[in-house]
């Protein structure tokens, strides 16, 4: 899969990113989108102990919390990169929150939404080389180096 690595942080080029909120969006064939947190986000949080997503059927505006994650030291929201309704929650992440650390772009997806205004929302997100460059600037500015726990996806 096409990707770039900046200070060990993996950025997949085929995803759409909300760089300020450290979330990603994958557009699915059935019109839904899959949402997760980035490699940068999981590294900043540290080993994640708990993850609690809003339930199926909940409607959320872009920028509003759709989940809360807790590491040993910090609790914070995952903010929705699109507006829509939650149609599926990843129960595996609810059972084992460390999936968010090990596989932020694959098995550690958080939830799926049916977006109401996808093209408008996507226009506010970054993808491909533009996303990589935006992350390069952010990672450099914040002095972030990503860390990967045992069993993490290899890139």
């Amino acid at each position: 899969m096409a990707h770039d690595k900046i200070n060990e942080c993996v950025i997949l080029k085929n995803l759409y990113y909300s760089v300020p909120d450290n979330t990603w969006v994958r557009v699915n064939d059935d019109g839904t989108v899959t949402i997760g947190m980035t490699d940068v986000a999981q590294s900043l949080a540290g080993p994640i102990l708990h993850a609690k997503a809003k339930g199926v059927g909940v409607a959320r505006e872009k920028g509003k919390p759709i989940a809360t994650v807790e590491s040993g030291k910090w609790v914070g929201p995952v903010k929705s990169p699109v507006t829509g309704e939650i149609v599926e929650v990843n129960e595996e992440v609810a059972k084992d929150a460390r999936m968010l650390n090990k596989s932020p772009y694959n098995k550690g997806w958080i939830l799926k939404m049916k977006p109401t205004n996808l093209q408008t929302d996507l226009a506010d997100l970054l993808t491909g080389d533009a996303a990589v460059e935006a992350y390069r600037a952010k990672i450099t500015q914040d002095g972030v180096t990503c860390t990967h726990i045992e069993g993490s996806d290899e890139y």
Partner: protein, 368 residues
């Protein structure tokens, strides 16, 4: 709001138990771009128990006991474990614009604990940082901290422990048996400390706050200017007081019963109640670990050791042994041989299996 602008300082004095939690949440929710960073000092007017955002209050606390003793329980929106809070704690809460704090959490905690440590040191207490986010004195915890992103703000919280009510903390916790509670009580006494315990007295509160603000100004490199809550912040407090009082919010998190009960005394010290099936026999023990070593182990049934009088010797032999299979095996085999003792039907592997269950459960909780 520039990064070098003055920080608003709000000394909220003594507040209700609800406000001691709702203030910093409210300031975070009300924070707008350009709004000032704030340091809040407050002290709850009465005692209460407080659980972390992802904790199941009913699993952590003896809620019936809390009700009978009129100890309210609040579930906060920050993480961490169960704590007893009372007027003998002075809260320090930072509610900052995210870009005004170090992005890396470890660096953020280093900054946050610096003025706390320097204040303790000013009063003659040899406090030091215990990474990632505690402050210790001679191996005992004196500050616990937490951090969260709430609304548009980043929040960091901590406290000055003026004194600590060990007995009540041990009483409110849900435990598997009274032996576990006794060990927990004793462990709190051994591994937590306070200003009163260290100095014999509680320093003057106004002087403590004055010194902290001065150390804070130096650590952050910005001035602190006294300020007041805005009407919007007060409105948020009202609404959060209602939320934090509701049973629905408190009991929102429900988790299935855990096979082992583990409690953290501080980052290096844990107590666990573990059981293990050795064939058809169930073996059980209460174990306290310190820095990955067995600090204390109490077998639930000494009759499993032949002769039973040697059970205490087996417990003593395991004291200070590293929680590693090889080390445990070496000690157990040497003990059985040297003391002509045995545990019929239970092999050293079974005992090792039981002890390492505690280790696995601990690693699961801390996310490793």
């Amino acid at each position: 709001m520039k990064k070098d602008s003055p920080i608003r300082l709000i000394d909220a004095q003594t507040v209700s138990h609800l406000r001691s939690q709702s203030i910093y949440h409210a300031l975070a929710y009300a924070m707008k771009p350009g709004a000032p960073d704030t340091v809040v000092l407050s002290r709850p007017g009465s005692r209460y128990a407080c659980v972390g955002f992802h904790q199941d209050a009913a699993r952590e606390l003896d809620l019936d006991f809390c009700r009978a003793q009129h100890i309210p329980v609040i579930r906060r929106e920050t993480g961490g474990g169960t704590v007893l809070i009372d007027p003998n704690q002075l809260f320090v809460q930072w509610i900052f614009q995210p870009e005004h704090l170090p992005r890396k959490i470890d660096t953020r905690f280093q900054l946050f604990v610096k003025p706390l440590i320097e204040t303790y040191q000013f009063f003659g207490i040899k406090a030091y940082a215990f990474p990632p986010n505690d402050v210790h004195v001679n191996g005992k915890k004196i500050v616990g901290t937490g951090a969260a992103a709430i609304g548009n703000a980043e929040v960091v919280t901590g406290n000055f422990m003026l004194d600590f009510d060990v007995a009540t903390m041990a009483d409110i916790l849900r435990v598997p048996n009274e032996a576990f509670r006794d060990l927990f009580r004793q462990s709190l006494d051994s591994y937590l400390t306070s200003m009163k315990k260290e100095l014999g007295i509680v320093p003057d509160l106004e002087e403590l706050k004055r010194v902290y603000c001065e150390k804070c100004r130096t650590a952050i490199g910005r001035t602190l200017e006294p300020g007041a809550f805005t009407q919007e912040e007060l409105d948020w407090m009202e609404s959060l007081d209602a939320k934090f009082s509701s049973e629905e919010w408190l009991l929102e998190i429900r988790k299935p019963p855990a096979p082992e009960r583990l409690v953290k005394v501080h980052a290096g010290v844990w107590i666990g109640d573990v059981s293990y099936m050795a064939g058809e026999k169930e073996i059980k023990a209460t174990i306290r670990t310190r820095d990955n070593r067995i600090d204390r182990i109490a077998l639930a049934d000494s009759a499993l050791v032949d002769p039973p009088a040697k059970a205490r010797g087996m417990e003593n032999a395991l004291h200070n042994v590293e929680m590693e299979e090889e080390d445990l095996r070496e000690v157990l085999e040497a003990f059985f041989e040297l003391h002509s003792a045995s545990t019929p039907g239970i092999s050293p592997d079974d005992w090792i299996g039981m002890i390492l269950k505690m280790q696995r459960a601990k690693l699961q909780i801390i996310g490793q």
